[in-house]
Amino acid sequence: MSTNRIHPEEGPVPTLRILHLYPDLMNIYGDRGNIISLVRRCRWRGIPVKVDGLRPGEDVDFSSYDLFFVGGGQDREQILVCEDLRSRGDELRRAVEGGAALLSICGGYQLLGREFITWKGDVLPGVGLFDVRTEGGEDRYIGNVVIESLLEGVKGSLVGFENHSGRTWLGPEATPLGRVVRGHGNNGQDGTEGCVYKGAVGTYLHGSLLPKNPHLADWLILKALRRRFQVEGLKTLDDDLEWDAHRAAVEKTLGEGKLRSRMASLLRG
């Protein structure tokens, strides 16, 4: 990566503005780690950053934010925010069309799709940012995941942990985030994981996702900065610990898979 400066010498220091949607409702297992990662990685580069939280019903101007984050929630919480999020659908889509970056995990990802069909058959309309549909499933997909990134500018693997019963299906306009190497991903069948639309990423991976996937964190930061500033690239950071953790997770996950298939073949005789 180039080591170009983020901003012209004489210009004002740009502050990256992050909006964390429903931090106290959609915060299942460690989603906060993604915000921690974004903030630290900006500050280590001398980029000022400000994070605001959004509660349902609060009046906020989405057009002033560069990066949005929605985490996952328990069922009850997800229902509580569903309507509020839908009422902001136009604004959120406009922000992404205008160059803002977005990361949504698990329940947040599902709510940003076209619709969610519960296990009982009720149809809950979503925001429609991603051309995906989610159906409630009977059993849950739980476990470590490794995917191969298909995102331009993010090479190699992405690692995380999934825990979801929803099966998400990509529509004709949808681009997946990656291809499943180990785990279930969107639906356990077509080998896709997540969805990308412009600067917006939806995925089932938590873990937390960004700390162990610094290339994706930087991709989001760069997208977000470019909304308002001329930026060539980001300053390179010392990511030894990040990549150690990434590699350890990949090895562990692939090892689990190997053990499972070895046991399966033993059982088959």
């Binding site: 915060n27 297992y29 780690g33 942990f161 873990g207 700390p211 010392d238 610990l241 953790a245 997770a249």
Partner: protein, 478 residues
């Protein structure tokens, strides 16, 4: 008539056989050095007679007491057992901490003779939250204690609301003359008795000077269960524990019959508490560190009182209590000290961090993160722990466990320089390294997840520093 007698005889034989088989497995497992054999004997005995736990429990003269909740089960049950034993009475107790039905059955098998007579006056069992419904149904307890409910291992327990509903339904099946002792400070736990005919009692903190700050992100129950409005907190002690009220429907914290009127925390060495037990005030010097342990103390003292323990003996009983395995034990190793404390979920961890911070600002820490099944295979929860509060107090962190790299990374993002973080996946090597790096007389603070705590304990016992776990009175769960 003859047929009925024959059946009864056969049943008695089967019961004796089940108990004998369980005992044999237990003996063999210890002989073979496999440890306490805490679940297998129960499993074997129940395969011979599936409703053995019901049959055994019903012959314990004083009935059964169950302790459930996310955190504090072991400490509460062990402290209660200690207070109860002080009176010269003896509990049948799953003190080795196996808290599934098989573990409870194993504990009974151990403490019953072959004719089916118990060697104890009271059944005292800590129970896994998800197992509570079956345990209530099988054991017909006379007293159930629920300590707290936090999100813990979603991959194992499912969502908190669902778990609470299941517990609520189970508690509805209690007897009318049984007792239900609930944490008043936990908005979710305090509602668990709503459908229960049992007599409700609450314990809670009543010291208005206590302040834990605002509702942190690790707080789980911030919304009114009845109407969904955001609860108003007049006071927050830690996580979602506090004095709350719903501004919409008026539902609020019940007032506790067992409370701490004044709490003075004294770091790792414990606390001084002014207790109120059904109106009677008692001054207690507790060896248990941290505010979270004051809840455990209240629950145990309240239960002891309900079980007829002389209140005048409760303070000295608590003072003489020795912390159970891995819940804040201190060991000496070659002139250095090791403080070992189980830290298994965000709330528990945050409280441990609060306690450890009072010990100084240049600490040597051993952080062990495992992702085995009993720990929860998903380690994302470490991002919900306030390691940001720990980082400024750390001189050096040795990160270890099956997820050592994740732990190291968490500390880096908490603000610790990578140069102050040492990664050593092998727990034994990490432990020895940390001890070696400590100065003479210095303490290594080991904060460890569930299976890592067991491992550390095993390593220490092999080094001759600690007792065998099953001898010292506490062991595994899963």
């Amino acid at each position: 008539m003859v047929v009925a007698e024959g059946k009864m005889f056969l049943m008695a034989m089967r019961k004796a056989l089940a108990v004998a088989a369980g005992k044999a497995v237990m003996w063999a497992s210890r002989r073979a050095g496999l440890g306490a054999g805490s679940n297998l004997p129960g499993k074997v005995a129940m395969s011979i007679l599936p409703d053995l736990p019901r049959r055994l429990a019903s012959s314990i003269p004083g009935g059964c007491v169950l302790v459930s909740g996310t955190n504090g089960k072991t400490t509460t049950a062990n402290l209660l057992a200690h207070l109860f034993s002080m009176e010269g009475r003896r509990p049948v107790h799953n003190r080795v901490g196996a808290n599934l039905l098989t573990g409870i059955t194993a504990a009974m098998v151990e403490d019953f003779d072959l004719t089916g007579r118990p060697r104890g006056d009271l059944g005292l069992f800590e129970v896994d939250e998800a197992t509570l419904p079956r345990a209530v149904e099988m054991l017909s307890p006379r007293l159930v204690i629920v300590t707290n409910l936090y999100r813990d291992q979603l991959d194992r327990y499912g969502e908190l609301e669902t778990l609470a509903s299941r517990m609520r339904r189970a508690l509805a099946g209690l007897d009318r003359d049984s007792f239900l002792l609930l944490n008043a400070d936990d908005p979710l736990v305090s509602t668990l008795g709503e459908e229960s005919p049992a007599r409700l009692l609450y314990f809670g903190l009543e010291d208005r000077a206590l302040e834990g700050g605002d509702l942190r992100h690790a707080a789980d129950s911030k919304y009114c269960r009845r109407c969904g409005s955001r609860l108003e907190f007049r006071q927050v002690y830690f996580s979602h524990m506090g004095d709350y009220r719903c501004p919409t429907c008026g539902a609020g914290r019940p007032s506790p019959q067992i409370s701490a009127l004044r709490v003075e925390l004294r770091g790792a060495s414990g606390s001084r508490v002014l207790l109120s037990l059904m109106g009677e005030e008692l001054e207690v010097l507790s060896p248990l560190p941290g505010l979270y342990n004051v809840h455990n103390l209240l629950a145990a003292a309240g239960a002891a009182r309900l079980l007829g323990v002389d209140p005048g003996r409760i303070p000295s009983g608590i003072e003489g209590y020795r912390t159970v395995f891995g819940r804040g034990e201190t060991f000496s190793i070659g002139g250095k000290r090791l403080f070992l404390v189980l830290s298994k979920n965000p709330t528990g961890f945050n409280e441990v961090i609060r306690t450890v911070r009072e010990e100084g600002d240049s600490l040597l820490l051993l952080l062990a993160l495992n992702d085995r099944i009993a720990d929860g295979r998903d380690v994302s929860w470490i991002w919900d722990v306030d390691f940001e509060d720990l980082a400024p107090a750390a001189r050096l962190v040795v990160a270890t466990g099956t997820r050592a790299e994740d732990m190291a990374l968490r500390m880096k993002y908490a603000g610790l320089e990578p140069g102050s973080i040492l990664v050593e996946g092998d727990l034994k090597r990490a432990l020895l390294r940390a001890v070696e790096l400590a100065g003479q007389g210095e303490t290594v603070y080991a904060l460890t997840t569930y299976t890592a705590t067991l491992e550390v304990r095993r390593i220490l016992s092999r080094l001759g520093v600690a007792d065998e776990i099953w001898r010292s009175g506490k062991e595994r769960r899963g």
